[in-house]
């Protein structure tokens, strides 16, 4: 009977392995994606360049509501938390390759990284005013794929903490659990 009773906690211990393994797997996947980004960045920095022109600028973003109905009703005395606004600068530029006109809004490899601070977007907008001439790096195999800052590591810096967080946290807890079982 005591042996039967011990089985349940033992099983719970084993069940805990799965989310930890998943956490490590997510970390590894993000790390692989980061390596792929770095390889792409290395390739893009070798692309040919052409002079382009900034034709339009603006910002894009979304507002995240930090308060929820549950927390508001549970803590009516609490000061309402502010909304977080994520913004990013959009620089649209035009350029010509082999007699064909192209347009793009890509600044660097990967999707635009939105910042919580409108100042960051303002800095980018100040760097690329409308009608400014810019150096455009374009893919010789597909000139529609082009960017202004091929060496920008914005997406790498975004992915790295997640890779380390998921992988490291999962590995540490797995080691801890392994030593306890």
């Amino acid at each position: 009977m005591p042996v039967e009773m011990d089985r349940q906690p033992m099983l719970i211990h084993h069940a805990l392995f799965l989310p930890l393994i998943m956490s490590i797997a997510i970390g590894v996947l993000i790390a692989l994606k980061t390596v792929s980004l770095l390889r792409k960045i290395a390739a893009c920095t070798r692309w040919p360049t052409v002079t382009g022109k900034v034709i339009r600028t603006g910002t894009e973003g979304f507002v995240e509501d930090n308060s929820t109905a549950a927390t508001d009703s549970d803590h009516p005395d609490r000061r309402p938390r502010e909304e977080t606004e994520f913004t990013g600068a959009v620089i649209r530029y035009a350029f010509r390759v082999a007699g064909r006109d192209y347009q793009s809004t890509r600044r660097y490899v990967g999707r635009p990284v939105l910042s919580g601070s409108p100042r960051t977007a303002a800095k980018v907008l100040a760097k690329y005013p409308v009608n400014a001439l810019v150096t455009v790096h374009y893919n010789p195999a597909n000139p529609a794929e082009a960017m202004l800052e091929p060496a920008n590591l914005a997406n790498v810096w975004l992915a790295l903490p997640f890779a380390i967080g998921f992988g490291g946290f999962g590995s540490f807890l797995l080691w801890l659990l392994w030593s306890l079982v």
Partner: protein, 143 residues
């Protein structure tokens, strides 16, 4: 023990739902990839960058058609191509291969085998199935 069985059952149902989604995608992808093809041209402008819909024109017989669909999709998701990614792949004036439904030529697609929606379903299916297995094993071992 019954609670563990119930949780395992619900999770298994979710996994089954995902599996059905994958099978549906496989069926549609198989069907669409066997549709006849024709050369088409991207007719949308660079304003796709501003949210304009991607358009491509193609001719079947004596009729000219305009298509919008790039790939089979279960709905909007963060895995969708951004406008920037769309124009990079399909710039204005580019020639494309259009797969059209021979029974209804106005129905067409550019990427019949795009695995996006199936990939997400597969991921969820594996996660649900793994947890269902754990709870099922726990239920069997429970005293």
């Amino acid at each position: 023990m019954i609670a563990f069985f119930a949780i395992a059952g619900v999770l298994a149902l979710f996994a089954f739902g995902c599996a059905v989604g994958i099978l549906q995608w496989l069926h549609k992808a198989f069907t669409m990839s066997r549709w006849p093809t024709v050369k088409g041209t991207i007719t949308s402008s660079w304003d796709v960058l501003d949210g304009e819909r991607l358009r491509y024109a193609y001719v079947v017989g004596r009729h000219r058609y305009v298509g919008h669909v790039v790939a089979l999709s279960g709905g909007p998701s963060t895995f969708d191509a951004t406008p920037q990614e769309l124009v990079e792949k399909y710039p204005p004036g580019a020639e494309v291969t259009v797969y059209y439904n021979p029974k209804h030529c106005a129905t067409a697609v550019l990427e019949p085998r795009s695995p996006k929606s199936a990939g997400i379903s597969l991921l969820f299916m594996v996660v649900f199935a793994a947890f269902a297995f754990i709870f099922f094993a726990a239920a069997l071992r429970a005293p």
